[in-house]
């Protein structure tokens, strides 16, 4: 900054002269200096993107076809990594769990925030309070949330079973039961993340013109009909956008199964990302880990591309 701030007047005049027709040969040099300057600003960010986005993306594909352990030279093995992970008994479980997790998260974690936002939007009091409280869990570190719920799910003195006992309901194994573990994790993820979704819905609901409701009511539309024919069509874009975002996010779930269940019981909560982690850091098989990464990448890339297209076209509409 100091250099440019205390430039000599000569330099400044030289720059001003550019606007007049420059002497032959000067223009090329001038352009070169401009380019060098532009790249001086760009270079730091560019190196980081190259190292930690572009290069790893290419490398994932390359290593997927190699036998790779750090320290020794990689060896080409064709599609062996893919067939190997394909025959891993945990492979099917991991994909099934990830898909079920995503579907459950869509069912639970999608309907609840929408209904909550609908109700909150009708309330005239304590608006700031509701917004802060609903977003509070989002600000608690995910690891803390996971440990907190692990404690709640404790079959002995856990709060979850205590509540059921208090209500005279049968208790559950929660995260410790093969059939209940996955849904237990979905509940945690929903609790932790719904605040953001509710706030986005609230913003979308507030942008609906009131006249639409008025007109619908004059036409005799009931409350549910107004939701069906005014609210949902008017927020359709945001609903679709959030749905894609949630699919992308939940398919990468890791912290909850890692911290709460450790993938168990009997690989009931092993997710794809967890399996990738296992291949890399437990089996030391980076080829297998990258083969799995590529599969996840391809699947999620489709949803991401859809999402980007949607937000782009949405922008044009605005």
């Amino acid at each position: 900054m100091t250099r440019t701030a205390t430039r000599s007047p000569v330099e400044a005049t030289a720059e001003r002269q550019v606007q007049a027709p420059p002497p032959a040969g000067g223009r090329g040099r001038r352009r070169l200096i401009d380019q060098a300057r532009a790249y001086a600003f760009l270079i730091g960010g560019l190196i980081c993107f190259a190292l930690f986005s572009w290069y790893p993306a290419i490398r994932a594909v390359v290593i997927a076809f190699q036998k790779y352990t750090p320290g020794s030279s990689p060896e080409w093995v064709g599609t062996a990594n893919f067939t190997q992970v394909w025959h891993d008994p945990e492979f099917a479980a991991a994909w099934r769990n990830t898909l079920v997790f995503t579907l459950l998260a869509l069912l639970i974690g999608f309907a609840i925030p929408f209904v909550l936002a609908l109700v909150l939007n009708e309330l005239r009091h304590w608006k700031a309070f509701f917004r802060v409280v609903v977003y509070l869990p989002v600000m608690i570190p995910p690891v803390v949330t996971a440990l907190l719920w692990k404690w709640f799910y404790d079959p002995g003195a856990g709060l979850a079973n205590e509540t059921l006992r208090f209500l005279h309901l049968p208790t559950s194994n929660w995260s410790n039961g093969t059939d209940t573990a996955l849904i237990s994790l979905v509940i945690v993820a929903t609790w932790a993340n719904l605040g953001g979704t509710v706030l986005i819905y609230l913003a979308a609901l507030q942008s609906i013109p009131g006249e639409l409701y008025e007109a619908a009511e004059l036409d005799g539309a009931s409350l549910l009909q107004r939701v069906r024919y005014v609210t949902i069509p008017q927020t359709r874009f945001v609903i679709l956008m959030l749905m894609l975002l949630q699919i992308i996010a939940t398919m990468q779930v890791f912290t909850e199964p890692f911290v709460i269940t450790g993938g168990g019981p009997e690989s009931a909560t092993v997710t794809v990302l967890y399996l990738i982690y296992k291949y890399a850091f437990l089996y030391n098989d980076f080829g297998g880990a990258c083969a799995l990464s590529v599969m996840l990448l391809v699947l999620l890339g489709v949803f991401s591309a859809l999402y980007l297209r949607l937000t782009r076209s949405g922008e044009d509409d605005l």
């Binding site: 190292l51 509070l136 782009r312």
Partner: protein, 291 residues
């Protein structure tokens, strides 16, 4: 005046409407208190119970005796000051690197017309299509052995700082904001002899305060809340941030002490949220409708 919503003001003004409204209102207050505030209360007070009390059934809603020893034990036994400090260093560095390098890059892409600028921007935007977690393993291998210079960023805060810069979302946010800044102010400054850096520092940055605030909050929250990447980067226990340390230590530590540590780990982000809640909530709400 609030705009009209699903329910008309007339419906709400009727006696029946009023009764239903207040019933629903009370229901929502109770639901929110139970669902979102009670778990936090349970955590904060759980840490103050004695080890016997926390294991007893049925549990006590209010601790019989209030112990602060859970908190003091967590502070000393779990080396919380060190882990908190590690987290602060990692988050602050990631924030600073992101702010400096992303701002500079966004400024160049927006105002300086570098050759291949469109291509570079396209490459940056393309990374938005690649979900971050799916790339952690090759990213880890790169950090473990940087190409050409063959150094390892593992167990070093640089392993958090540099990858944090490769954040296409924040960079694009900055670039789009810079695009909207009026050209004539910058041209006037240029005619007055200001250099590119001077224009960035004295004109662009002061005008960009809102977007810089948003990017800062995003950057800090992301590092503080992250788990998988620091779990991979820091195998050295002493250098781990609090999120990783909590999980590693959770196995063999008394429950009340662990819960106290969880509360302590949550305080910085929750405190930041309570202080900046207006801005954070406005940012989330605005970010959605505009895409």
């Amino acid at each position: 005046m609030t705009t009209r919503t699903l329910l008309s003001p007339a419906t709400l003004a009727r006696p029946r409407g009023k009764a239903v409204y207040w019933t629903v209102f009370t229901g929502v207050v109770v639901l929110f208190a139970l669902a979102f505030l009670f778990p936090v209360y349970w955590m904060v007070t759980g840490a103050m119970k004695s080890p016997d009390e926390i294991a007893q059934t049925p549990p006590t809603i209010i601790p019989k005796h209030w112990h602060l020893s859970g908190y003091t034990d967590a502070w000393s036994l779990m080396q919380l000051p060190e882990h908190l400090w590690n987290t602060v260093v990692q988050a602050a560095g990631a924030w600073a690197f992101q702010l400096v390098l992303c701002t500079a890059a966004a400024y160049a892409l927006s105002k300086l017309k570098p050759a291949f600028g469109k291509l570079i921007l396209g490459g940056i935007l393309a990374t938005l299509m690649v979900p971050a977690q799916a790339l952690v393993v090759p990213k880890y291998l790169t950090a473990a052995d940087l190409p050409l210079i063959h150094t390892s960023l593992l167990n070093s805060p640089l392993g958090i700082w540099l990858p944090a810069v490769a954040n296409a979302f924040n960079l694009y946010l900055l670039k789009r904001f810079f695009d909207q800044l009026p050209r004539d102010v910058m041209e006037a400054a240029e005619i007055d002899g200001a250099g590119k850096l001077r224009i960035l520092w004295s004109i662009v940055l002061p005008m960009s305060r809102p977007v810089l605030g948003v990017v800062s909050i995003f950057a800090l929250v992301a590092v503080w809340q992250d788990f998988l990447w620091p779990l991979m980067v820091f195998s050295d226990t002493d250098k781990q941030p609090i999120s990783v340390a909590l999980v590693q230590l959770s196995q063999n530590i008394q429950l009340t002490v662990l819960i106290a540590a969880m509360v302590i780990a949550s305080i910085p982000m929750v405190a930041m949220f309570l202080v900046f809640q207006r801005h954070i909530i406005a940012g989330i709400s605005a970010g959605s409708t505009k895409g």
